[in-house]
Symmetry: C2
Amino acid sequence: MYERKVLPNLNCGLDLIGEVLYGKWKIRLLWFINQGHQRPSELQRKIPDATRRVLNIQLKELEDHDLITKKIYPVVPPKVEYSLTEFGQTLMPVIATLGNWGDTHEAHLRSVILKRLNAERE
Amino acid sequence: MYERKVLPNLNCGLDLIGEVLYGKWKIRLLWFINQGHQRPSELQRKIPDATRRVLNIQLKELEDHDLITKKIYPVVPPKVEYSLTEFGQTLMPVIATLGNWGDTHEAHLRSVILKRLNAERE
DNA sequence: TCGGATAGGGATAAACTTTTCCCCTATTGC
DNA sequence: GCAATAGGGGAAAAGTTTATCCCTATCCGA
């Protein structure tokens, strides 16, 4: 496991939420688990751009941060189900707020993001 | 300027907001600018852990994404002031929501984050 | 018996971000 | 002439995250 050399800032609420939500696929993972897609293979089909490896790593972090729980069924072939903890559920309205803002301003956001991307390749 | 090799996902609102808020100091920058700390040197005093270089880079990105504007006064010594655009202002309640969740769950968050950090160094 | 479904992990490479180091502009005041 | 002020940026190193590749194992169906 990679060991951090620089300690994170944990001064205020914004630092703290940043620390647990940080990771390319984490918000999506929480969102899909909340929608009832609980098994790893299902999540991977929902997020095809991520490799299985990264999803496992980020699921583990979410679990360590008490946002989801992992239930392993001792059957063959293996079966695993993730679900939100109570704590994780309190985060859903916050994620909804983020998504709503993005949806509301979708056209403008897409425009400014693409403009900047293209400028990079000038 | 660094040129990305992997294009970002821009499928949904969550992707879009992630794209503009991504950056270690951006949320803090927006927050302090909103509170009236508009000059670069002032922002740097408020965020002493960041170097001036990074702040400049991230301020530029915020500007490119139409969240803030930069006004340069042609005086000596130079004077620069940042302020939120109208668009940037719509983001403030969203950031407040993030901060509130973090503040509400501060104790628990700090606990799970530190537990994971220590486990890394096991 | 082979292929695919289930789940997982180590090692290493590539991508990306942030920091560090050193440099620059121009004027005012001593 | 030189320091202080208030702003900025290029290049390279360090830090961190994500991707790629190749393994483990069992069972089911063709």
